[in-house]
């Protein structure tokens, strides 16, 4: 089973190390790689060391639609995933798949018929 890390509403899953495919997602102009912006607080899940972030939907077919954020490849030493409201998570060399958290919506409500 792949190792999982959770930082707030993000789940990071160590997967088999692979070369980036799909779309390479460039870092922000200030240099950090932002995995996700906080919808309410504006706090970001970010990595300030050099990593490669990419998005390839073919690698996320087993994830429910809309949850897949992308993959992060750590080529060098360990990096830190930081967030203002959560302790940092250390990611060592390898490839990680990142997904966001979901919640049931009012429109998803349905009557259960036993």
């Amino acid at each position: 089973m792949p190792t999982l890390y959770a930082q707030g509403d993000l789940l990071i899953e160590r997967v088999a190390d692979i070369e980036p495919t799909g779309t390479i997602l460039a870092p922000a102009t200030s240099g950090e790689t932002v995995l996700a912006e906080g919808e309410v607080t504006g706090h970001r899940h970010a990595i300030f060391e050099a990593v490669t972030m990419f998005r390839d939907d073919a690698l996320a077919r087993d994830i429910p639609s809309g949850l897949y954020v992308g993959h992060v490849r750590v080529d060098g030493d360990a990096v830190k995933l930081v967030h203002d409201e959560h302790d940092a998570i250390v990611l060592s060399r390898g490839t990680f798949r990142v997904r966001r958290q979901r919640e049931l919506e009012p429109r998803d409500a349905r009557v259960v018929l036993d």
């Binding site: 089973m1 495919t21 390479i24 997602l25 919808e39 959560h86 958290q101 919640e103 009012p106 009557v111």
Partner: protein, 355 residues
């Protein structure tokens, strides 16, 4: 492989539509009327009489009374001669695929207004969700009564407002496409018949959530200058009294709802955490991942949420608790938390760190 801005690329395919100035405010009636005449000319139709209405519902009411003297609907003709050709041209050159994102915009709003127009057009049917079967029966028997079948929604046509579109179409079609864009940018709903073309004004208020659904925490989510308005929460129409007076959202009010979607909206408006603390749900079980709560109502309706605790203390040293709504059939808190990440509880057992 294409390098692009991280968040821009990640979010662009799902970028929600947001109201722009072209969606709101008074219509430029002169520009819209000129555009109607040009589009009719392209379709080899004589210039119609143009009738304005302050809202799509007022339009539908007027259309109901006058449609017998307006000639046949030419919606299909205009779609074939102008709009679908523009769509084809745009699609041929839409290498980025942005067109599909625009086309799929605002299904809730379009459906809501089409239903409203339908209701106004076929008579005073009391409630949308009760009227559905009656409307469908009417439409089967008398298809010319279908407002949806004769109207064009500005929200379905807003891809015409892409400023690059005229460059993408053949020169011979450019004038027609430009006229269609002018019409969509300067009017609301459109109901074209041979002799009469009805146009509605644009809304004064249009509020959407970050997924492009009709949504407003305060006041109506959509309002026209004739006063017609609707309150909505995440694309679902809700009673305005609860938006304007949230203190009225009591457990009794939630229990009293017969519409399960409205009931869910009320729980969200009061917040799931407060709903639980008010005593609205029953404790199912606790495990190391969180606490599972559930509530059932008669007739098979059930709601559930998992309460979890932040792994990192806040500035005050406290661990913040938050509540996530989950499918009611889940039996453990672990399964519920796993579901929020799209996993099984077995997969979620591999979690080593939570901060």
């Amino acid at each position: 492989m294409v390098a692009t801005s991280a968040l821009g690329a990640a979010l662009a395919p799902q970028a929600p539509p947001q109201p722009s100035s072209s969606w709101l405010g008074p219509a430029d009636r002169a520009a819209a009327e000129a555009a109607v005449r040009e589009i009719y000319a392209v379709a080899r139709l004589s210039p119609p009489q143009i009738v304005w209405a302050a809202s799509p519902v007022a339009l539908a009411r007027h259309w109901k009374v006058r449609r017998h003297t307006a000639g046949d609907s030419v919606r299909g003709v205009l779609l074939d001669t102008v709009i679908n050709r523009a769509m084809s041209a745009a699609r041929r050159s839409d290498v980025g695929g942005g067109l599909d994102a625009l086309r799929s915009s605002l299904p809730d709003l379009t459906a809501m207004l089409a239903h409203e127009g339908q209701r106004a057009g076929v008579g005073a049917l009391a409630r949308l969700h009760l009227a559905g079967n009656v409307l469908r029966a009417l439409m089967r028997r008398r298809p010319w009564h279908s407002f949806r079948a004769v109207s064009l929604s500005p929200y379905d046509l807003r891809w015409l407002l892409d400023p690059k579109l005229p460059e993408r179409v053949a020169a011979s079609e450019r004038a027609a496409v430009s006229a269609a864009a002018t019409l969509v940018g300067n009017a609301g709903w459109i109901v074209p018949h041979v002799h009469t073309c009805w146009l509605s004004d644009k809304p004064l208020v249009l509020s959407l959530d970050d997924r492009g659904r009709l949504h407003a925490k305060n006041g109506p989510a959509i309002r026209y200058k004739d006063g017609w308005h609707r309150y909505a929460w995440k694309g679902i129409e809700v009673p305005g009294a609860f938006v304007d007076h949230p203190e009225r959202i009591t457990l009794n009010a939630i229990d009293s709802q017969t519409d399960i979607f409205v009931r869910r909206c009320l729980i969200e408006m009061v917040t799931p955490k407060r709903f639980i603390y008010m005593g609205g749900a029953d404790l199912v079980m606790r495990d190391e991942t969180g606490t599972l709560w559930r509530r059932t109502w008669p007739r098979g309706d059930a709601w559930a949420a998992v309460e979890v605790v932040n792994g990192t203390p806040g500035p005050d040293g406290q661990l913040e608790r938050y509540v996530l709504q989950v499918p009611p059939e889940l039996e453990t808190a672990r399964a519920a938390v796993a579901w929020t990440y799209g996993m099984t509880d077995q997969q979620y057992r591999s979690l080593v760190v939570r901060t």
